[in-house]
Each structure stands twice: as C-alpha cells, then as structure tokens.
C-alpha cells in the first residue's frame, strides 16, 4: 500500500505538504516537510482507498527549536 498523505501544519505559516510514503503516519511521528520537521498530532482518512493508494490527512505541529 502507498499512503498519499496531506500534511497540514497547525499554527504558524507553513503551508503543509503532500507526499507519498510507504508507512502510514502515526500520532507522535516526526516528519520532515521540506526545510522543517514537525510532529504528527492527528491522522484521518481523507478519501476511501483506491487501487494500492490510501489517502490520509495528518495534522502536524511545529517542533520548536528543532528546525532542520
């Protein structure tokens, strides 16, 4: 299964990201979205799966002082 994830950053100015990943996002995971890293705080199904694709939404929060 390929997980197409829409990452939305809560607070701040980061516009979020969309990426395909091999493992489903989980609450507490740290993800690098471009130049910064974020912590996942919520995961929801965005659309029903189609073919080998699963469509997820992940809310993220900024990790203060740990920009990468």
């Amino acid at each position: 299964m390929i997980y197409k994830v829409s990452y939305v950053v809560i607070g701040g100015e980061h516009p979020g990201a969309i990426a395909n990943v091999e493992q489903p996002p989980r609450i507490g995971d740290i993800v690098a979205l471009g130049k910064q890293s974020f912590r996942i705080i919520e995961v929801l199904e965005l659309m029903p799966p189609r073919g080998q694709f699963s469509f997820l939404h992940a809310s993220c929060e900024i990790i203060h002082g740990e920009d990468s």
Binding site: I2, K4, A17, L33, M47, G51, Q52, H57
Partner: protein, 145 residues
Amino acid sequence: MDLTDLLRNVEMFTGLTEPQLQKLSTIFELKEYHQNEVLFTQGEQGAHLYLVKKGFVEVIVNDPDTSSGRTIVNLGPGQSVGEMALVDQGVRSATVRAAIDGTVVASASRDAFNDLCEKDTATGYRIMRNIAADLSFRIRRRRFD
C-alpha cells in the same frame, strides 16, 4: 529506484500495466535541482509535466497586490506538478521551485505525453481518470486549511 519504479508509485499512473509503465518511462527525463532552483514560473506557457522523485518542491502563487509570492503547499515524493497544462493547455497557475538541495524531478513534454495517450487510448483514459481523482484529493484537503 528507476523511472518505472517511480511511475508505479505515482497515483496518476495507478492501474497501468507493467508494459504501459515501461512505455511511459521512455518519455521522462530526470534532473536534480538545487534549493530555490525554479522548475517553471507562474504565467508562462506550460509544456511539461513534472513528478517529484526525491525531496520537495514549493508551489508558490504570486500576490498581484504585493508582487510577492506565497507558498501554498510543498509537494514531496510521488507528487505531480504541471498536469493542469496537460489538460487545459493554459498558462502556469503557480511558480514551482525546489525546496531543498538534491530534489530530483522527472519531466515529460506535453507533446510526447499527448502523443502516447492518443496512440494508446487505454493508457490515456486511465491517466486522465487518475488526474481527476488527484484534483478531487486536492479539493478535499482544502477543508482542513
């Protein structure tokens, strides 16, 4: 990961057979970009489709009031940009640039892409249906913005 592996992991090409994917891979070329290097600019004519293989690209929309750009989303591995130009042949609706060094992007020309889809209508139908589904995904994600 070769080009066929990349295409297999792109939603736009889901449902295609291995021979279809291999034929499709012949029209794509890979290029590595430095941070802030521009793939294309808002307002120019679009003639290529792009697929992110590695890294992230920033999608930037210009604000006509301030003449400055605002990043509306970052697109990572497996994501496509520029497909609207394949469908409507209009100008680029945003500027896209590499967000980080070492971003690798595959591109195909609209002419080569359309030629392949018209010669192999089963491939063309599947791809256009998948493009519609991707647009649906992008619309649905907006309710979380």
